[in-house]
């Protein structure tokens, strides 16, 4: 059997598991939950087998390398590690409540990849990438990202449950106006070659808001709710946009074998050459943001019945970060050792390295903020969310926004 068939079967099983977990939440029947778990385990087993098969296939093609070198394989692996982590959590905490949130992510990511079926041909590596350290680097980093992803999801639930009301409509209107103004300013400035100034300014604004939220956060629940809406919009919007990308690239663009899809990120939506498409994409994001902000309280009443109390959510976030932090550390270290074996410098302050260090700092802040008196769960959840935003930026934003010198290649 070839790996793509196996991947398809795993995807269908995850779809079934997703439906089952959601019905379990809705009907509260334990039987459904058990079936959901069994289906998840089966999907996971098959996906594991598929990964191994793909690895073997690469050896049969005489290229022989780990299935982790392009976006396709990375995403497959990402879903695999997310499901693995989820299964561990289900075992340890004996709750199936998170399944309804984790499985959709796994299914959507796999569906995009499979529907599009893009760039899944096994391509050879350039010399600098042929290193065991690189393998460990990618592997460990992905596990770390998965753990932080779960921490992010739990923090999102925490922040939602911690909010009493969504606050005045002025908030969301102001947020959307800010978004629109920034988008148009960004558009104009990019045209004028003031990109750097724009990104620096935007960065300063966003950071100022984060710090405001963290330092005085407990007092500004409505602001935190707005932050929550932004984060959820970002997560959902990005997943959907990635899916559209895959479809679009498959249907209309010819991607050369071996070319990294990362170079084409969001070409179908936010960076499309056609202005109307860009406009519609942004409008859709704004609409989504408003919808999420508007309906959040409903989601809250729904969720409240199923998820554990706040202090346990806080604990789960901490445990996940406690898993992710050593992995991120290991990822950075193996990356440094690889760089040292390839060109004799373990640290070069290139954007990707620096952003992984920034991410590391943010989670170090999370770990130490616990020892600062007066910082509470909601503030910790905000830090955890900011950490994951940094993860996303490290993984995608550096290539997309900053001239990705590193761009997975180094020597190409």
């Amino acid at each position: 059997m070839d790996s793509s068939l196996l991947f398809n079967i795993a995807t269908l099983l995850y779809l079934a598991a997703m439906v089952l977990y959601i019905s379990y939440l809705a009907f509260k029947k334990n039987g459904i939950g058990q079936v959901a778990s069994i289906v998840t385990y089966a999907g996971f087993a098959i996906q594991t087998f598929a990964l191994l098969t793909r690895w073997r296939e690469s050896y049969q093609m005489d290229i022989g390398r780990i299935p982790l070198s392009n976006l396709y394989e990375s995403l497959v692996f990402f879903t695999w590690s997310t499901v693995l982590l989820y299964i561990i959590i289900e075992f340890k905490y004996k709750t199936r409540a998170f399944g309804a949130f984790v499985l959709p992510v796994a299914f959507l990511a796999l569906a995009f990849i499979n529907v599009a079926g893009i760039s899944n041909d096994i391509t050879p590596l350039v010399p600098a990438l042929k290193s065991n350290w690189l393998f460990y680097h990618v592997l460990i980093s992905f596990f770390g990202y998965a753990a932080f992803g779960v921490a992010f999801a739990v923090s999102m639930i925490y922040l939602l449950l911690d909010t009493d009301e969504r606050g005045p409509v002025v908030n969301i209107v102001a947020g959307i106006v800010a978004l629109l103004v920034l988008a148009s300013v960004g558009y104009v400035m990019a045209g004028n070659g003031l990109k750097t100034a724009f990104w620096l300014g935007l960065g300063v604004l966003v950071l100022a808001w984060f710090i405001f939220l963290i330092v005085s956060g407990a007092k500004h629940k409505a602001q935190i709710y707005l932050f929550w809406s932004f984060c959820v919009t970002l997560a959902i919007g990005m997943l959907v946009a990635l899916g559209i990308d895959f479809l679009y690239l498959k249907a209309f663009q010819h991607i050369e074998a071996g070319e990294s899809l990362k170079k084409h990120l969001f070409e179908a939506t936010f960076v499309n050459p056609s202005t109307p498409v860009v406009f519609i994409s942004w409008a859709a994001v704004v609409g989504l943001l408003f919808l999420i902000w508007f309906q959040g309280m409903r989601l809250k009443t729904f969720l409240k019945q199923y998820v554990p109390p706040l202090n346990q959510l806080d604990e789960v976030t901490y445990r996940m970060i406690a898993v992710g932090f050593p992995l991120l550390t290991g990822g950075i270290i193996t990356g440094a050792v690889w760089a040292n074996s390839a060109w004799g410098t373990y640290w070069g302050w290139d954007p990707k390295e620096t952003w992984s260090l920034i991410t590391w700092f943010v989670y170090a802040i999370y770990l130490h903020a616990r020892y600062v008196r007066g910082w509470k769960g909601s503030q910790m959840a905000v830090i955890s969310a900011v950490g994951f935003l940094a993860v996303i930026f490290t993984y995608l934003g550096v290539n997309l926004v900053l001239s990705g010198l590193h761009s997975y290649g180094g020597m190409n």
Binding site: S341, W349, T354, I358
Partner: protein, 504 residues
């Protein structure tokens, strides 16, 4: 007594307190996280013209003053790192004595007073009497793999136990490892260097060209203590660093991925150079074939394969191997000739003339026709030579043939010998990255500890447990109490299980 403290004492106490605060750590980490962003948005160490293309003159001047073009080496960024290091050192030292005290503290029976403060406790009445209760407690603790000490007198017995004391060391290991990484980086900056060397095939060098000079040499030279070994740059070049031996490039080559039809694609799979080391008396010491990710190290200096290029107007030599069919592989005769040159090959009594050399030839397997392609960057993807073979010392040409590095199938030869393409040698140089970093092992030690420390800190848990068995008014009362510094939920589960088993 207060006023006896001198100003210096008060001052140093204040400083110590300031630097031992976790709040400062959080503030410093936030600042570091934020300012680090700047250097990822503004490209670092570009040529001045490039900056002027992107920013106006005013901005370029401003960024220049702030050091944004080489931000991670500015005094203020380095100062931030030093502050964090000071914070880390002081904080860790400050907490070291209490932590050690916890680790070395002997196990003590619990008293009513301290019992109150414990987060987990339960009282159980056991009807079967004290002896049975003790037996049961011992069994239960043993089953949960606690090793305990027993204390007590006539009216009470206590089993005292703990697990995972050493997990208290986790954060210390973490913090020390970060200090080691810092120290290692400093050692590298002071005593190491980064350099490069473009070495043509067949040539030797006893210097490398510096990108940064060791800071120590520079300082000592400036102070007039010791002269720096660095040879200053001649007109516009880079300063040279003597390495104390010769390094020679014996050969350089690139391998390419072969596609399904057996033809090399333009995609490199490996770069490699064979390097030899000779001492200054020109005695050979060693050689090594280096690849990307597999450098040569000698006397603390490491040579990494990093690039290659053509020597301006450099002419290469064609190297071939000739072997009679049906003779063992060892009986080959090497043939070396320049493009255009003719050479007599005694073992087969033929004369070879190289008519042409091409960097990328592909033979059509169906027709046998050979086609040539252009390459970029002086790449020899499938070097091909056209040979004219004539009898004896070169009378009439017998036949012409193409000899190439990689043939799609078995090449055929009209006479009873084979010709193998070895290399086209001497037209290119290998680009080597050369570094000396005496701090790297300190950094790596830090790395290893950094992998271990957080894991111990997060997944270890210092758990304490007391089981007190008392006779009270004719009843046997067992009090179980415990605490854990981490993963309280997990410990609560374990605690309840133990208590339940005792209550049975």
């Amino acid at each position: 007594m207060e006023n006896k403290k001198g100003f210096v004492d008060i001052f140093s106490e204040r400083v110590w307190k300031f630097f031992s605060s976790v709040k400062l750590a959080v503030v410093l980490l936030i600042i570091l996280a934020i300012v680090s962003v700047i250097g990822t948005v503004i490209a670092q160490n570009e040529a001045p013209e490039k900056y002027l293309q992107e920013y106006s003159q005013a901005f370029v001047n401003l960024f220049e003053v702030l050091g944004f073009f080489d931000m991670y080496h500015t005094w203020w960024f380095v100062l931030l790192l030093f502050l964090l290091t000071a914070n880390l050192t002081v904080c860790t030292l400050d907490r070291l004595p209490p932590t050690l005290k916890i680790i070395t503290a002997p196990l003590k029976p619990i008293e009513d007073e301290s019992l109150k403060a414990l987060p987990f406790k339960r009282e159980i009445i056991i009807k079967a009497g004290r002896g049975k209760a003790e037996e049961l407690s011992v069994k239960t603790l043993t089953r949960h793999r606690y090793r305990f000490i027993t204390t007590g007198g006539p009216d009470e017995t206590q089993l005292v136990t703990q697990k995972g004391v050493y997990s208290r060391l986790g954060y210390i290991i973490t913090h020390v490892s970060i200090l080691l990484v810092f120290i290692g980086a400093l050692l590298g900056a002071f005593f190491g260097f980064k350099a490069f060397l473009n070495l043509p095939e067949g040539r030797a060098s006893k210097v490398v060209y510096l990108r940064n000079e060791p800071m120590w040499d520079k300082i000592m030279d400036t102070l007039g203590v010791a002269k720096s070994p660095v040879i200053p740059a001649a007109d516009g070049g880079l300063p040279a660093m003597p390495i104390g031996y010769y390094v020679v490039c014996d050969s350089f080559d690139v391998d390419y991925y072969i596609n399904a039809a057996g033809i090399p694609t333009g995609m490199p799979s490996e770069y490699h150079s064979t390097l030899s080391v000779y001492d200054l008396q020109e005695r050979k010491i060693l050689d090594k074939r280096i690849r990307v990710n597999d450098p040569l190290s000698y006397h603390g200096i490491t040579f990494y394969q990093s690039s290659f290029g053509a020597i301006p107007e450099g002419k290469g030599k064609i190297k071939l191997n000739v072997r009679r069919k049906n003779s063992p592989a060892a009986q080959t005769e090497p043939v070396v000739l320049d493009p255009g040159q003719a050479v007599y090959v005694p073992s087969i009594d033929r004369t070879f003339k190289a008519l042409s050399f091409n960097p990328y030839g592909i033979r059509n397997p169906a027709t046998g026709q050979v086609q040539f392609f252009q390459t970029e960057n002086n790449e020899f993807i499938n070097p091909t030579v056209e040979l004219e073979v004539s009898r004896g010392k070169g009378s009439k040409p017998l036949y012409k043939t193409f000899i190439m590095k990689t043939e799609a199938g078995e090449p055929s030869f009209p006479e009873d010998y084979t010709i193998e393409f070895v290399e086209y040698w001497g037209a290119r140089y290998t680009g080597l990255q050369v570094t000396k970093d005496p701090g790297v092992w300190v950094v790596y030690t830090g790395f290893i500890m950094l992998c271990v420390g957080p894991v111990i800190a997060f997944f270890g848990s210092h758990k304490k447990l007391w089981v007190r068995i008392q006779d009270r008014k004719g009843q046997t009362v067992v009090t179980v109490a415990g605490s854990a510094n981490r993963n309280r939920i997990g410990f609560e589960r374990e605690f309840n299980k133990i208590a339940d088993e005792l209550a049975k």
